[in-house]
């Protein structure tokens, strides 16, 4: 939901001393703030459960919260239907986060020599800022009929529909058959929509969005909500889960802007088991595979693509394993691996058209450069959490992606490789079933090989962020 706008690149840089002064000012501001914390309080209010019942630290789900979600936002306790609610109950939650952050990027393209040439410069900026605004509304329409609607804005207030879906739950009385239709989050065990981090690069999972340098395939982004139909199922205690989704290959964009008949699929499965004092461990897999267009009909010029006219579909895939490992009450580690592959056409920049311009259009007779290959890569992320108490969590993340085959053989083998780590904490000064409130602190460091705009050398950026994350 929330990636911070990169407008900081245009802001006036500040000196280090003032940065630290601001950090301390925020620190004392927090100390002076009233005590108070908690998820989607609309659900918590409905069922009278604390946020901590469903969230390891909100918004990240724990096992019980995952089961609640898998049951169609139902506790399966006879009181799931809205008829049991006070008629005044309105299942709406809003979430927004005021922050202070400092962002630094080492190689940004700037004018040089009075605008006659370009150069690279490091830009560092800091200041107070806002996240976008989320309006979550969801729950049951009737027993075993549920919905989720999430209009979401960027920090400027421009809205879009992040999630719109309706569900049929426990079809035929079986938890093994549930059907979801609309725009929804893919069934990632490690959910990006419930990520605990908020910085621009730390607020997403790079594995879920990776595109090789020069590649035109935007359609395989597992972290983006997608339009489609999903069938999912699980055992009564959610130990065993599966999901199969059929998706339009349009990266969640409405009004069919891309291919006329291009589809993808996302398949997951996982099994949890009781490991005694260690806790419940879970192992799973995912596969995203499909086709997306590389050619467009045009009108008004060779690059003026007509929406919905895409064709010449080419394939891609991402697959990997997921593990959720608990080591007692306080420490756990999430692990996700990925092997990805795009068609050589995507690797050579065919695929997405940006703002209606099909820079690369795979029209009849188009030929690939000699020696061009399908790009492939491998990646892994580790995300450890130390749960000090239900109110306090320390977290970290290490993520790395390594190209194993470049589409253009002459490119450096490490072009586009990513390494990033994040550390942070979230502290909920109170826990209730009415609202969520968290003091949030985070630092992210991001590095990519060979993708600076002028010199094609390495890019490094970092971001420090403090904020108050709240929802009601």
């Amino acid at each position: 939901m929330r990636m911070w706008a990169q407008s900081h690149l245009c802001q006036k840089p500040q000196q280090g001393s003032s940065v630290l002064a601001a950090a301390f000012a925020l620190f004392f501001l927090m100390l002076g703030a009233s005590q108070s914390a908690s998820a989607i309080p609309a659900f918590a209010r409905k069922y009278g459960l604390r946020c901590s019942a469903c969230h390891e630290s909100w918004p990240m789900l724990n096992y019980f919260g995952q089961k609640f979600k898998d049951n169609g936002y139902q506790l399966m306790n006879d009181r799931d239907a809205p008829i049991w609610q006070n008629p005044g109950y309105w299942p709406v939650t809003f979430r927004m986060t005021p922050i202070w952050h400092r962002v630094s990027t080492n190689k940004v393209e700037v004018d040089a020599n009075g605008g006659t040439s370009n150069a690279e410069a490091k830009i560092t900026s800091s200041g107070f800022d806002l996240s976008g605004l989320d309006f979550h509304t969801g729950g049951t329409l009737e027993k075993d009929f549920s919905f989720y609607l999430l209009p979401s804005s960027d920090p400027t207030g421009a809205f879009h529909f992040e999630t719109v879906m309706a569900r049929l739950d426990n079809v035929g009385g079986s938890p093994w058959v549930n059907v979801k239709l609309g725009k929804f989050e893919l069934d990632n065990l490690l959910s990006e929509k419930r990520i605990l981090t908020l910085t621009g690069n730390g607020g997403i999972y790079q594995l879920y969005h990776f595109i090789p340098a020069g590649d035109g395939n935007i359609f395989g982004q597992m972290g983006d909500n997608q339009l489609g139909l999903e069938v999912l199922g699980h055992s009564a205690n959610d130990r065993t889960r599966y999901s199969v989704a059929l998706l339009s290959s349009n990266d969640g964009s409405v009004e069919l802007p891309y291919g006329a008949e291009s589809y993808s699929t996302f398949i997951t499965g996982s099994q949890a088991f009781d490991a005694g004092k260690l806790g419940v461990q879970r192992l799973g897999f995912y596969v995203m595979a499909g086709e997306a267009p590389t050619s467009w009909l045009t009108n008004g010029g060779p690059n003026a693509a007509i929406a919905g006219s895409g064709g010449s579909n080419k394939g891609y895939s991402r697959e990997g394993f997921v593990g959720q490992f608990y080591f007692g009450q306080h420490f756990d580690v999430d692990v996700v691996t990925q092997h990805g592959q795009d068609s050589v056409w995507f690797g050579q920049g065919y695929g997405d058209f940006i703002d209606g311009v099909a820079t690369n259009n795979n029209t009849p007779g188009t030929a690939l450069p000699a020696g061009a290959r399908a790009p492939t890569w491998n990646g892994v992320l580790f995300e450890p959490h130390f749960v000090v108490s239900p109110q306090m969590i320390l977290l970290g993340r290490y993520e790395t992606i390594r190209m194993s085959q470049q589409s253009t053989p002459s490119n450096p083998s490490n072009l586009g490789n990513i390494t990033t780590y994040t550390v942070g904490y979230r502290y909920n000064p109170f826990m209730t079933s009415r609202a969520g409130f968290a003091y949030h602190g985070e630092y992210n460091w991001f590095h990519q090989d060979g993708t600076s705009p002028i010199s094609a050398t390495n890019i490094t950026s970092s971001e420090l962020l403090f904020g108050i994350d709240f929802d009601f």
Partner: protein
């Protein structure tokens, strides 16, 4: 353009951690308090006594259950276990008050403490018609730790031992006679006064019922039951049998262990199942085979011979 070097901000990492630790210690809500609270004066902090639970080969420890109790339970049951969590005021029925250690779902006789396994099963099963969820996502160890933790709230666990589980004889076959006898018992024992003549929870006494804390309480409505119906303490015939024989302590539902014999209890179970008119089960199959009519109960038990009657032909 001057800017901070990235390395300076590596120092932000320990700063961030320290900040978190400050919050975690300085802002932490006072831990939970103990059960011997005076009537007047401030609450004392809860002391986590070294209580244990033993379920099979798993031992639970109260100290290890504290964190999960705060995370999952305290919102309703309260930090002090006194059913005064912040959500309690909105709940109906009210959450269990652990300070009095009275539990509905037991395998033990009325008035006694439940076994550790009883409590663990209740956590895993949840309580239908209440806000108590099905916590079957916990490991057995987590449940054992929670069972040990809730014992710290009542002194009963220090002075009493859990009761002995009742013996449940094998269930006899379902017959129209057993259903008929169950119906007779339902009438004789006046179950209908609370549960209603059709088991719809609308008997003449239903509106007046309260639990041991004077909160209004509703009798179970059998008529709503379907194939997946659950009772407060389970869903099987054995569970219903157990409810008869142990009662639901803290509620008006008494134990009938001293009133009826085991076979009578099974007959009552069979009849109650027929009140679940939308449930597909052997009881309703037998009733359908009898064209939906339960014949009047005829006591075929041979009358006992008078003690002072001599056998005919005997004696000289």
């Amino acid at each position: 353009m001057k800017s901070l070097k990235p390395m300076r901000f590596f120092s932000a990492i320990p700063f961030t951690v320290i900040l978190g630790l400050v919050f975690s210690t300085g802002f932490a809500v006072p831990a939970v308090a103990q059960q011997d609270v005076p009537d007047i004066g401030p609450r004392l902090p809860v002391v986590v006594k070294p209580m244990e639970s033993h379920i099979g080969n798993i031992s639970g420890h109260a100290a290890e259950g504290k964190s999960d109790y705060r995370r999952y339970c305290a919102g309703c049951h309260g930090d002090y276990g006194d059913a005064n969590g912040e959500n309690a005021v909105w709940l109906d029925p009210k959450p269990r008050d652990f300070t009095i250690a009275t539990f509905k779902c037991r395998s033990t006789l009325t008035g006694t403490l439940p076994t550790d396994e009883d409590l663990s099963n209740t956590i895993a099963r949840g309580l239908t018609n209440s806000n108590m969820p099905i916590w079957n996502t916990f490991t057995k160890q987590q449940r054992a730790n929670l069972v040990a933790y809730i014992k710290i709230f009542s002194p009963r666990w220090q002075t009493e031992k859990a009761g002995t589980p009742i013996t449940i004889p094998p269930e006899p076959a379902v017959t129209i006679e057993s259903i008929s006898h169950g119906k007779a018992l339902f009438t004789k024992l006046e179950c209908w006064k609370c549960h209603g003549p059709h088991g719809e929870g609308d008997g003449p006494s239903a509106a007046t019922l309260t639990d041991s804390k004077d909160n209004p309480i509703r009798p179970y409505n059998f008529a709503l039951g379907k194939n997946d119906s659950r009772f407060k303490c389970g869903s099987t015939n054995r569970d219903i049998y157990t409810i008869f024989m142990t009662g639901l302590d803290g509620t008006p539902m008494p134990s009938f262990a001293d009133v009826i014999q085991p076979n009578d209890a099974w007959d009552l179970v069979h009849f109650l199942r027929t009140l679940q008119v939308n449930r597909k089960g052997k009881e309703n199959e037998v009733l359908s085979a009898a064209h939906g009519a339960i014949p009047p109960y005829v006591d075929k038990t041979p009358a006992p011979a008078p003690a002072d009657t001599k056998p005919p032909g005997g004696g000289q």
